[in-house]
């Protein structure tokens, strides 16, 4: 009887994924990647067995219990073994999670970073080119979480002899190749962190409190005399169930208590138009603001940005006559070419972790800007 029961259970377990797969499809895990597609049957693929490996990838990706089993395994790894279930996420102290790529290269031999020096040189040249075109360039550098909160990182294996962050390295390089309007966010954030938590524990980004600091710092640099007029009134509340991008990368539902924007009131009427979707799911907004009085707003502006600016954007969007917020680092993106030509201010925000990936074709940008004059 026991044998029959065990065998029955075994057979049910073996057959259920196929049987279930006929009825429903596997629920997604939210990995931000395309799952393997059904491979095409070709003679070459059969001969060199590449079809079979492709089919196996497809089968694995669409396995009906994949989400359930992955979450269960991750739960055990995280809660029982205290191990990060995703190699891209580092589990720090006191529930703080970090994106691995936000740490400096553990194998870095020294603080001499040719890539960062090259980038600083390009930024310096870009600043000159934009300035020569009659526009003003602002460089905004978003510090990664470990740069502001190194104390929660915990033990991290490294053999690097350089203790400096990429942020510090770029700041040092920019001393040699200066950019006139460099919006340093590390200093105000480091200063403010004693009073309030500025990053989410389970997310890579600033929380609303950190975003407010960022917005104020940016507006201060954009308009040193009138910046306070542009700061909106923001009402914050607290939610006990925030779960950030890093938590999602672990396929776990780790909750934290975090502030959220309950209400936001601008000095001007704000209109947002979603222009189009760039690079898959990255939004591209055009924001126009109309002030109730004759109070001047900041001129037409283009903002090249990444995910870090999502929340600060909410806080600065009532400050510009027109603001085109484009989620890209490519200043030559043809879709945004007209916006660049018609902007007076050029804001470029980039996250610290992407510094090694960013580069500019300065002569091409110069040529693009030469074609028109700013409004």
């Amino acid at each position: 009887m026991a044998h029959r029961l065990a065998i029955g259970l075994f057979l049910v377990a073996l057959l259920s994924p196929i049987a279930g797969g006929l009825v429903i499809s596997a629920p997604p895990l939210g990995e931000n990647r395309r799952l393997a597609a059904t491979p095409e049957v070709t003679w070459a693929g059969l001969r060199d067995a590449s079809f079979f490996s492709a089919y196996e990838r497809y089968f694995n990706d669409h396995f009906i219990y994949r989400r359930f089993l992955t979450r269960a395994k991750n739960w055990i790894d995280f809660h029982l073994f205290r191990v990060s279930p995703a190699t891209k996420v580092h589990v720090g102290l006191d529930g703080w999670l970090y994106l691995r790529e936000s740490f400096p290269d553990p194998a870095r031999e020294s603080c001499d970073d040719v890539e960062i020096l090259t980038l600083a040189k390009q930024l310096h040249e870009l600043d000159g080119v934009i300035d020569a075109s009659g526009r003003t360039f602002f460089l905004i550098l978003a510090p990664d979480k470990p740069t502001i909160y190194p104390e929660y990182v915990g033990p991290l294996p490294t053999r690097s002899h350089c203790a400096k962050s990429r942020y510090q390295l770029l700041v040092e390089a920019l001393a040699e190749f200066p950019v006139k309007h460099f919006v340093r966010l590390d200093l105000p954030l480091l200063h403010a962190k004693a009073q309030q938590q500025l990053y989410y524990r389970t997310d890579t980004h600033w929380n609303p409190s950190g975003s407010m600091i960022v917005a104020e710092t940016l507006l201060q640099q954009l308009s040193p005399s009138r910046w306070r007029e542009y700061v909106p009134t923001v009402d914050l509340d607290t939610t006990p169930s925030f779960s950030g991008d890093l938590s999602r990368m672990l396929a776990l539902d780790l909750k934290e208590s975090a502030p959220f924007i309950k209400d936001i009131r601008y000095q001007a009427d704000v209109h947002v138009t979603t222009r189009k979707s760039l690079n898959d799911d990255r939004p591209w907004f055009r924001i126009t603001a109309v002030p109730p009085t004759e109070a001047p707003l900041l001129p037409k502006t283009i903002l090249y940005r990444d995910s870090f600016m999502s929340l600060p954007l909410e806080m600065i969007k009532g400050s510009f006559t027109r603001l085109d917020a484009v989620w890209t680092y490519d200043m030559l993106d043809p879709d945004a070419a007209d916006d660049l030509r018609t902007s007076r201010l050029v804001l470029f925000e980039m996250a610290e972790r992407y510094l090694p990936l960013v580069s500019f074709d300065v002569p091409a940008i110069a040529a693009a800007l030469r074609e028109t004059t700013p409004p």
Partner: protein
Amino acid sequence: MVFSSLLFLFLFLPAVLAGYYLAPPRHRNAVLLCFSYLFYLWGAGAFLFLLMLSTLVNYALGLLIDRRSGPDARRPNAHRWLAAALLFNLSILATFKYANFLIGEINKGLAVLDLPPLFWAGVALPLGISFFTFHQISYVVDVYRGRRPACARVVDFALYVAMFPQLVAGPIIQFHEISEQLKQRLETLQGFHQGLLRFCWGLIKKILLADSCAKIADAVFAQTGPLGTGAAWLGVFAYTLQIYFDFSAYSDMAIGLGLLFGFTFPENFHRPYSALSITDFWRRWHMTLTRFFRDYLYIPLGGNRRGPLRTYANLITVFLLCGMWHGANWTFLIWGGYHGALLILERITGMNRTEASGLPLLRRALTLLLVAVGWVFFRAHDLGQAADLLGAMFRPAAVPTAPEIMETLNNRNLFFLALSGLVFLLPREFSGAKLLLTPRPLASAMVQAGVLLAVTAYGIALLASEAFNPFIYFRF
């Protein structure tokens, strides 16, 4: 396709079980053969044709040998057909497994002499070639020796060669051990149940124990820079555990799968790390390979019947070939020679005798140490890496542990490494698989089944999450 994959567990296995048990008994071998060929095609692609061709040739040669080797026959040409069969099988092995290495080494020599290299386009290594060739050698020799008649049905013989549970990694089943089962066997519920438990046991060993140890061992063996003494020993012991749990797990799964289809395969491992000597180790490690070399090479060479010097020569020959069988590289040759030399040393000193041995714990520890040192050659990419690693093990140096190694030393890997390490300490006759199959009261059996189910589910969860690869955002 490997046994520890979702595709095998949830697509191939249900399909083959359904196909097999729905087929009439007389067609079951044919069904199993078709699925075995599909299994091979999945991993080896067009090499399936090589497997089929070599099967047909050996089948034909077997018939030719058998016609002349009956007890009453004079068999004037049997030895010639046998020689042809051996030549054919060894040529296939030499071409596909050793030619790249051999011609590469010859070309190195020619380069030193400033002579042009030999032209050789290079060949890919067909999956499981060492195993299916040995099976076919076992067949023709057993038929020649008259231990068993040749297979009358080509399907039976092809199944013996290609049966998917043992096709790519053994155990090496000698023809006379299974020939009757190929003709007639009884599939029972009890056998199926035992096969099920054995398969799960192997799956757990592979996914939880072997793969956790592999992460540490791989990180150590991948180091190109200097290595500290502690890290070197850690890597070698992690590999010592990995190779045992990986290989014995595969054997467990193969034996379990065999039982699901009514076959009883020979055991392949018997607590090798509890061996009291290297001689004892080889009675417990990859037992089917040891038996193959003993029956088809060592004994025909004269074994230990022709005096000590000839015995030593036979031992070293067998172990050099055993090393080469594992792979075409100097590291395997050295590994084989190392074990052969240790066996000779044990014979000279009398340490090969385990019956009346004193200090068993010390002997176990020493044997383990010697075996672990041998694994350095087995695992190293080349002799240079083996020398570096042995240098790091025996020349104390305070080198900081590389971050790549530190990354692998997380709680999970360390827990399973420690759990695996129990194999060094458990009694010599202990067997996890036997413990699992021991009949027990219902309540106890239910608890055991529950634990086995939960651990297997965790193992399958590890498999399912292997492809889990989250990105913070779609890349720029």
